[in-house]
Subunit: 464 residues, 2 copies
């Protein structure tokens, strides 16, 4: 049906040019007058009838419906003049987060080496598992993730991170953010206090705020988040977001004393620790530390630690695959809530990843990236020279450079942007204006040539 | 490092067998006693030191740390005896939703023909676009979705659904649920009233409840949701979830009169209509109806209609791809909130889907499925015979069978389950116990043989 005919007829009836009750020309007349086929005219009339603009009376023709409806209001009335219409919650979420920045090359933090991803091997696996697919893996999933991937992850975190779990305690998510959201809504109510590290990971803050939780930034020092400072400032929390292996962005390891204090506190007060182990695979100085989740005894399964992992750093962010290790009692309700509230992911991709892990390709890729990132970090250190104050770098994908003042930070970030160099200001990782000034320098997704160019510029800018 | 050595040392220090301040055997002694290499022993000690269990004093050996920490509490204390720890919100979400059911064959509603998906063509596209990938498409996306896919969707909904938009007004989501969640949180505050159709789609209810909205079920009749009944019962809403093309699950088309009333009401009171166009592609009796979004005039861009589409019904649910068409003013804040709160999806898959749409493969697949589903629905009608009261079926993937009583519904659902036949009770789609009894019979993902078997059983059960 030509849309012009339909639109024209609809326009006449809506505008009142054809008044309610008026008889429309017959399809035969319409067809002749407009030089179109009769079937086309009939289809247009059927369509108008189905939408209620016209009614067909048997044997008596087609009439403009007595709908009594007003036309949609004219432009520039109520709608046009009202504000954007964002909710209060929506406005505060936007205030918490910076506009998305273009994120490539030196020195974007948190992005792995995308050009080093083993595409050929990954494609073979995807093709094989797409070919092997059964109907059930394409459907709305309800198993908490593909069983083979849950099993591969259980083996992996058990061996590498001393996480105590079986496959039936793993819930596959669309990345860590999805896990934070699910945890925040299922385990905390609006107004509940959530401790976050200060400085810390903005994603967790946004997820908690979006769930209506009360954000409580707790300072970190060389031993990680300070529980005593948290209690003094905010009282006992319902949730704590922690990056114990490699504090984001400062790089501290949470001390054993504090780990046990925090576990004990959560245990006594019914809180939950979210252990965000986002990049512990890339540890250069020593083997990665064991997880907090694994600190519990085997008999004491219901530990208040939810271990969250992601494949965004070991594979690539666009993959959107992460997981949370849940206490046995929480698996079924969290799985159900996720299926109903959000839906599960693509089981074909999950099957391919399971094969990648079981076949050893994953571990090999991670080891190769660890060597690559160590070289890239060294390259960054070499080009920056010894006059700068770098923190962290024992693990992960970035180092932090301390700066003398907030003004210096602002000027450098702006000047770098003109050189197409992305400098993340350390002050962006704190909730208020009292954070120390600095730069978070990601080196993982930049070639040595890029690091040389951008690092050389930064060294000169620092000296200038 | 052998984990047994590390675990043993850690166990000794944690259990107090090695008291705080005690000197550990040297790495040389440990290596000799345990028959391991000295480097291995050193690595274990380094690891313990990094975790804070031991401290190395220069030239004086390694000592158990004075951490003063308690061991994690014994099993069965506070944690073991406390409840699951779900939030009040979490418990009410679970109460809103049934446990996920196994979902295959006859008569699971809402699942397309998974065995008829064009895998070969889809795989070629995925392979080609994976090969063409650039680093930027693997990264954390921030453009609201792959530009080519946004452009393909804009063309498609413009032509087929009369949706008025350009590509820069489309936000790609992980399916419709993700869109509902984002809309509910960004455009409504906790306690705001959200109208939902009664009976209606459970997914929207769960998404709204998870966002803290106050659910207001509004009855539907042969003209769809009744605005007058909604106003009388609940007052003016902030959000309305509508399935105007094909009311879920009853199949009514929302009348033009009500469409205009609802648009006018939202316009005057600052509310938003969520137009959930989940399966309008599959219309058998006539061309699909135009969208509510398209009812607005071109000059009046800021219409209070958010058009939500999904590829779960036209491709497959596991793909997790949907979209929302936003008024221009909302695009930037919604995109930013999505990037920060949740992250965007896999741009490689999105590029492949864009090529599928631009190349015509998508439209061809949809047309083929429309014919297949029409045949399957006819097969269901044939096997059930003319004594049953079937509603709907002019569009979509299911028909509704009215039943005489709630008892009949309960008995049939239970008996069918024993035959591995999934019968969805109509009463599950209403918020209270007053809904009419019936069955929602999905036919799209069942072969004619399956429909024959399951339909034959149902016919006999109804007669018996």
């Amino acid at each position: 049906m030509p849309r012009c005919l339909y639109d024209g007829l609809r326009g006449w009836t809506q505008s009142g040019e054809l008044a309610a009750g008026a008889r429309l020309p017959s399809s035969r007349v319409l067809a002749a007058e407009l030089g179109i086929g009769r079937n086309t005219a009939l289809a247009a009339l059927d369509h108008l009838s189905a939408e209620g603009f016209v009614v067909a009376r048997a044997g008596a023709g087609v009439y403009v419906a007595e709908t009594g409806f007003a036309r949609p209001a004219a432009p520039g009335t109520a709608m046009g003049s009202r504000s954007l219409g964002l909710s209060e919650r929506g406005r505060s979420l936007l205030a918490l987060s910076n506009p998305p920045a273009p994120g490539h090359g030196a020195f974007v933090p948190g992005v792995p080496a995308l050009d080093a991803f083993p595409w050929a091997a990954w494609q073979r696996l995807l093709r094989r598992h797409r070919n092997r697919q059964r109907g059930r893996w394409l459907d709305y999933g309800a198993e908490g993730g593909h069983p083979a991937l849950k099993s591969a992850i259980a083996d992996y975190v058990n061996i590498t991170r001393n996480v105590r779990c079986r496959a039936d305690r793993i819930l596959i998510t669309h990345g860590a953010q999805h896990a934070f959201d699910l945890i925040a809504r299922m385990l905390a109510d609006p107004g509940d206090v959530a401790w976050v590290e200060e400085p810390g990971y903005a994603g967790a803050r946004v997820a908690f705020a979006a769930a209506g939780l009360s954000l409580a930034p707790v300072p970190v020092d060389a031993e990680g988040l300070d529980p005593a400072a948290g209690i003094a400032a905010w009282g006992v929390p319902k949730l704590i977001h922690l990056t114990p292996s490699n504090q984001f962005p400062m790089g501290a390891t949470l001390s054993m004393n504090r780990r046990l204090t925090l576990i004990d506190q959560a245990r006594r007060h019914g809180g939950w620790i979210i252990e965000d182990d986002y990049d512990s695979e890339f540890r250069y100085a020593s083997a990665p530390l064991s997880s907090m989740q694994g600190l519990t005894t085997a008999a004491d399964d219901e530990a208040p630690v939810l271990y969250v992992g992601t494949f965004s750093k070991t594979l690539y962010p666009g993959l959107r695959l992460g997981y949370v290790v849940l206490p046995p009692g929480l698996m079924s309700p969290m799985r159900q809530a996720n299926v109903r509230q959000f839906r599960e992911g693509d089981y074909v991709v999950q099957a391919a990843l399971a094969a990648f892990m079981h076949g050893g390709g994953y571990a090999k890729h991670v080891a190769r990236m660890r060597r690559l990132y160590a070289r890239r970090q060294q390259c960054l250190r070499d080009v920056l020279g010894t006059d700068v104050d770098l923190i962290g770098g024992e693990a992960g994908l970035h180092v932090v450079m301390r700066l003398a003042s907030r003004e210096r930070e602002t000027v450098l970030v702006a000047a770098a942007a003109e050189q197409a160099i992305a400098l993340a200001p350390l002050s962006a990782y704190v909730a208020d204006d009292n954070g120390e000034p600095g730069l978070v320098l990601g080196y993982a997704n930049a070639s040595e040539a890029e690091i040389d160019r951008a690092g050389g510029w930064l060294r000169r800018a620092l000296a200038g």
